[in-house]
Each structure stands twice: as structure tokens, then as C-alpha cells.
């Protein structure tokens, strides 16, 4: 494998391994912390002891998830300097600044109140405890905000110019609120909510299916469903619009995620490839099942709207791995549709009065559909990041800095060793997390707990 002799490629592989692993955990940190705020707020408002017990039970999973998130996030900040020193030197003035903001505004806030939230129940008054939980949730969401600001700026680097090959900021407002940022931030934040709600609802469904504490978990199941009603349709709307934004600002990425090679002529619409087999060497698809004019509709809203094809770009400016981008995108969309279907199905069940303690167990298929949804939010998010990051290639800062020119000069053997170590350590970490999380879940909540 000649490609494994290339330290830039190894650094890329290392970054994708660490990023794809790390993103699994903030999904729940962001979403579940908000759910914890809701449970705790409901307890204070209604004095329903079950809400208090829910807050305690889900906090156990939260802590386990949070710890893995913290320790897997740490390497990434240092990788920028260690593996991507030329990127860091060039973009540090803005990019590093934003990471600093994340540390000061988000991480410290989260960490500064986490101890009180987890271990301070008996040490502070309930309202102070609720405040601590709110601050943890706010910190988690702010961290998602700043990270997506930094990442979206790499997609659409606005508000800057280059001086001596280094980024100089002209307008902080333009750089922070760059063209991709509103969609990037909201799409990721809603992905966190959707994933967490389906984990909450799915695990609750699992308990109900196994006839454990049905009344208790019906509450969390209904709460998850109420959240999903808002989150899933909004997420689909945001997802669609963020796709349209890509067609405007990153046409090569957009063409890659649709495997669209030839720019359509003025009086013809571009077809939308439902399924296909892209062939980069031949610059065409080997076969395709396509809907005529579909892509013009999606991208421009008009039957004959023009959509740039991949061939409009030099081969060296086209994203690699078009097959991966194309199918990751489709998988993500498919999961969104599945979420929507589960939501509608649950709505029908609720309206027809079947979501009661007595009747819910009579609907095992619906419960299984929720259980099946537990891993899907994670999978969709991974797919989304693959589309976003692989699709931006060969650029690290779109149109400004190529990935190849961003890497540190490091011996291959050194990068190969750390890459291997990350793969091994993260695999162990992942398996251990699953083992310990399933122990917490099997043990179930403590229904004797009182304040």
C-alpha cells in the first residue's frame, strides 16, 4: 500500500478517526443535558417524584458519555498544531481564536458546574442545582456552536484576506456569521437533539417492551415523542436548506454528493440520481437510476435550473471518494425519513389512545421501531460529517488552502504509530463504553430514590 507511506494521508486518516469517534459523544452531551434540564424543571414544577428519579437515572448515562467525550475531544485540539501545523500557522488568527472562545465560554462553564450537577444534589438548594444543570446544558450547546462556527468558516471562509500567506481578519462578524454557519450550527444542534431523543425514547421503549417499570418509562417515552414532533420536521427542513446552500457556495461538493457530472444545458433539467455507481476515472456514472429534472428542482426550485456538474472542475479540484460521499448522503436522508415515519406512527398511536400503561405493550412493533432508532441518529451524524468533510476536499479551507499543503512535516513511522494507537485505544474505549452503559441500563433506575 503505497498510500500508507504518505504522512499527509496518515495525518488525514488520523484526524478522521479521531473526529468520527469524538463526534459520537457530544451528540448526547448536548441533547441529553437539555433533557436533564427538562426533567429537573418538571420535578420542581410538578413535584412528580418520577421526574426526579428520571433526572438521576439518565444522569448516570450522561456522565459515562460525557467522560468519553471529554477525553476523546482533547486530542483534536492538539492535532491541529501537531499534525496540521501549516494550517494552524495560516489560520490560527481566526481558527485558534474561535477554539479559545470555545474553551473559555463553553468548556469551562460545562466543567465548572458538572461536579455540582452530578454530586451536589445534597450540597446545594434545588434551585441552585437546576441552575448548575442549565449551565452544563448551555456550555454543551455553546461548544457545539463555536465548533461549528470554526468548521463552517473552513467551508465558506468569509471576512478575511491573506497577508504573507497568513489569514488576517477583516470583519469578525462576517467570519463568524459566514454563509455556511447558520445551517452548519443549526443542523448539528438539531442532530444532537434528534439523536438524544431517539436514545431516550428507544431505551424507554426497551424497558416497556420488557415490562419493566412501564408507567415510569411511559413518561420518558412520551417526553421523547413530544420532542421529536418538533425536532424531526425542523431538522428535515434545515437539512434541505443546508443542502441548497452547498449548491450555491460549494458546487463541487454538491455535485459530488449527487454524483452529477455534466452541467445541464439551458433548456434541460438536471436529473437526480437516486442510486448510481460513480466512476471518477471515467468521469461518469457506470449506471444510474435517476429522476428526470429532479436535481434542478432540489437545487434551484425550477424545472430547468442549472446545476454545475463535476466536470466543470479540474480533476484535481474534485472531491475524492465520490462513492462514499454519495451513499453517506443517501443513508443520512434515509434515516431522516425513518425518523419521520416513526414519529407519524407514534402520533397515530397516541391519538387513537393506545399510548397508555395498559395498552402500550400491545404494540410491540412500534416499540421495536423506536429501539431500532437508537443507533440511527449516530449513524446519520457520522454520514453527515463524512459528506461535509470529505466533500470539502481537496481543500482544508475551501478555495484557500489545500489539505496537502496544510500538514506538518512528520516522519511516516511516527504518524503511523499514533494512528494505530488511536485506533486501538478508541476501539477498547468504545467496547468498554458499551459494556458499562449496558450494565447501567440493565440495572435500571432506582425507584426508591427520594430527595
Amino acid at each position: 500500500m503505497e498510500i500508507l507511506q504518505d504522512s499527509v494521508f496518515l495525518s488525514r486518516l488520523q484526524f478522521s478517526v479521531t473526529a468520527l469517534f469524538h463526534i459520537l459523544w457530544p451528540l448526547m452531551t448536548v441533547g441529553l443535558s437539555i433533557i436533564l434540564v427538562v426533567f429537573e424543571g418538571l420535578w420542581l414544577k410538578t413535584a412528580d417524584i418520577d421526574c426526579y428519579r428520571h433526572a438521576h437515572f439518565w444522569a448516570k448515562l450522561f456522565l459515562l458519555n460525557f467522560s468519553v467525550g471529554v477525553i476523546s475531544g482533547l486530542p483534536m485540539e492538539f492535532e491541529f498544531g501537531a499534525n496540521w501545523s501549516r494550517f494552524s500557522i495560516m489560520a490560527g488568527e481566526f481558527f485558534g481564536n474561535i477554539l479559545g472562545f470555545e474553551g473559555a465560554m463553553a468548556f469551562m462553564l460545562e466543567a465548572g458546574f458538572l461536579g455540582i450537577m452530578l454530586f451536589g444534589w445534597t450540597r446545594v438548594p434545588p434551585i441552585m442545582h437546576l441552575f448548575a444543570t442549565c449551565m452544563v446544558a448551555l456550555g454543551a450547546s455553546l461548544s457545539a456552536f463555536w465548533i461549528l462556527v470554526a468548521n463552517s468558516w473552513m467551508q465558506t471562509p468569509d471576512g478575511i484576506h491573506l497577508e504573507n500567506n497568513r489569514v488576517v481578519v477583516d470583519s469578525y462578524f462576517d467570519a463568524i456569521f459566514n454563509k455556511n454557519m447558520p445551517w452548519g450550527v443549526s443542523h448539528m444542534w438539531f442532530a444532537c437533539l434528534a439523536t438524544s431523543l431517539f436514545v431516550l425514547g428507544g431505551l424507554s421503549a426497551w424497558y416497556i417492551l420488557n415490562k419493566r417499570h412501564t408507567a415510569f418509562f411511559l413518561k420518558s417515552f412520551k417526553l421523547a415523542f413530544l420532542g421529536v414532533i418538533f425536532v424531526v420536521p425542523l431538522q428535515i427542513f434545515i437539512g434541505h436548506n443546508s443542502g441548497k446552500e452547498v449548491f450555491v457556495n460549494q458546487p463541487a461538493k454538491a455535485a459530488a454528493l449527487e454524483a452529477h457530472w455534466d452541467t445541464n444545458e439551458n433548456d434541460k433539467g438536471a436529473a437526480w440520481n437516486l442510486l448510481t455507481w460513480p466512476n471518477k476515472a471515467e468521469q461518469q456514472n457506470d449506471w444510474a437510476i435517476a429522476i428526470p429534472n429532479g436535481l434542478s428542482w432540489i437545487a434551484t426550485g425550477e424545472r430547468h435550473g442549472q446545476v454545475q456538474g463535476l466536470k466543470a472542475f479540474l480533476k484535481g479540484d474534485q472531491p475524492p471518494a465520490i462513492l462514499l460521499i454519495f451513499y453517506s448522503f443517501r443513508l443520512m436522508v434515509l434515516i431522516g425519513m425513518y425518523f419521520l415515519a416513526v414519529m407519524l406512527w407514534t402520533a397515530v398511536a397516541w391519538i387513537s389512545g393506545r399510548l397508555t400503561v395498559e395498552l402500550i405493550a400491545n404494540n410491540p412493533l412500534l416499540l421495536r421501531a423506536w429501539i431500532a432508532a437508537i443507533p440511527l441518529g449516530y449513524l446519520a451524524s457520522e454520514c453527515g460529517w463524512i459528506v461535509r468533510e470529505v466533500g470539502r476536499q481537496p481543500w482544508v479551507i475551501y478555495g484557500i488552502l489545500r489539505t496537502r499543503d496544510a500538514a506538518s512535516v512528520l516522519p511516516t513511522s511516527v504518524v503511523a504509530s499514533t494512528l494505530l494507537a488511536f485506533i486501538v485505544v478508541y476501539s477498547i474505549l468504545f467496547v468498554l463504553f458499551l459494556i458499562f452503559a449496558s450494565r447501567i441500563i440493565r440495572k435500571g433506575p432506582d425507584l426508591t430514590l427520594t430527595p
Binding site: 485540539e77 473559555a104 465548572g112
Partner: protein
Amino acid sequence: MDNEIHTILANIWFLIIGLMLFLYVVLDGFDLGVGILSLFTRNDKHRAIMMTSLESIWDANETWLVLLGGALFGAFPLVFAITLQSLYVPVMVMIFALIFRGFSFEFRHHAKDITLWNLGFGYSSVLASLAQGIAFGGLIGGLLVFDGNYQGKVWGWFTPFSLLVSVGVVSGYALLGATYLMIKTEGSIQVKCIYQAYVAAALQITILIAVIIWIPRFNPYFAARWANNLSGPYISFFLLLAVFAFFMLLSALQRRFEIRAFFWSVIISLAGFTAVAIGYYPFLIPASLGLSQAASSSKTLIFMLAGIGFLIPIMLVYSGYQYLVFRGKIQIDMPME
């Protein structure tokens, strides 16, 4: 005029980053120190007390490292990039050690046999401290930088000097850990901590003096700063302050003044570090990259000051509040695992 403002801003950020580094070294230092000391106990109850003393704060302590990284990245991108690239190996070792440490600490609650997890926690604490020490030793030992790029070898940081520094850092962390535990414990475990503090302090002060005497022998710039009438007295002053703090510590240990013992342990590290920093000032990467030269533009430094600088007091308040909530001796008559 513009240049003057830029120099002032660069110096402000130098101080802020120095403050963050100091907070990290003290807070995660005692945290790592408790981990190091946990290897020296066979008593399960003692170990449980030690672990509980970190439970609510380890994450906040480690977060100072993340903040430090982000602030350095934004304010001095060149330093961030060159340092991390040239210290790739120790930095990665530190990261893996911190990963192991974090999950040993959090997962041990759920494990059936916790012996392995306890060992994992202890050894990864040692490894993380050693790696930090060797990276710091490598940095002040001198990195070959030319024209904004690291020119040295990937193992260039591995010298007898950096090894000595790293043992010094480990003993300094152990001292901070021992005096922190003095505050959080009582009875037989406290007695043991006092004994450990004596050993760690003696080791640390010896190495500190050795390191500061060693630097001028390979670094003419530092030697000149020490001989210089303007900066020299300050270096000597902080060196003497470290020695003075050491004796104050001994007296505090003898009389079991818990807070004072921790205070003087902090002063030893702070004074030693300040002496080194003055000797190298205004170079961030010793002898090659100066403060103003490495800093981001004034505009960024001001923007960061507004976003981060003004948050520091607030961060200190709520971090302090968390310590306040969990103050007092650790009680573990409640069910532990």
C-alpha cells in the same frame, strides 16, 4: 505607535497565557499528583478517599489545558504550531495518558474488579506528568527553529536535561497532590501525605536548582540575562523565593498547617517557573521566536481579550464556587462503589 500597542497586547496575552498555564499546573498538577500518590497506597479506604477528592473537579482541572491550548492557538499561532509539531511524541504520549487516566477514573465505578483500573489510573497519571515534564524540558532545552519552521529531529527533545526536568515536574505534582490531600483528609492517611510531601519537596527543590544552574551552560542568552543588571536580580530573587518557600513548607508540614503547606507548594513551582520565564523573556520559543513576532494581529488580540480575557474572573468565580460546595474533609462512610 501601532507597534507599541501591538507589543503591549502581546505582553498582555503572554501574561494571560502564563496565568492559564499556572492555573493548569496547580490544579491539574495536584490532580495528577493524587494519581501518582495513589500508586503508593495499598489501603483501599485510603484510595477511595483519594479518588473521591477528585471526583467533582478533575474534569474542570483538565479543562484549563484545553483553554490554554485554544488561547495559545489564537494569540500565538506560530508558537502553538511549532511547539506541538516539534514535541509531537511527548504531546501524543501525554494525550494517550490523559485518555487512559480519564476512563480509568470514570469507568472504575462500573467495573467488577477495580484493581486493574486503579493501577491504570496511577500509572497513566505518572506517564502524563512525565510527558508534560519532558515536553517542557524539551521546550526550554531549545528547539531548532528557522524561518518559522521546526528544523530539528522528531526525537530532538529527548535529552538528559529534559529527563531531569520531567522528574522535577513529577515530584512537583506529587508535592501538590500530597498537600492537597492534607487539606482533604485526616488521621493516618494525612500522616502519610505529610511524609510524602517531605520527600517530594526535597526532590523538587534539588532538581529546580540543578535545572536553573544547568540552563546557562547551554543557553548563552539565559546566561546573559542572569548576568545582566536589569533582569539578573529578578532571576536570583525568584530562585531564592523558591528556596524560602521550601523552608516555609517544611515548617508548615511540621506543624500540620494544611492550607499553608499547599500554599507554599504552589509558591515553589510558581517561583521556579517565573525565574525560568524571566531568563527567556521575550522569547516564547527559546532563542528563536519572540513575543511580538509570534503574536496574532492587534485586532485579533483585542477581540480575544474581549471574548476570553474578561471571562477569566467569571471563570475563576464559578470554578471557586465548585470548590466551595465540595469543601471539607472527605467522608466515606457512605457506600462507595
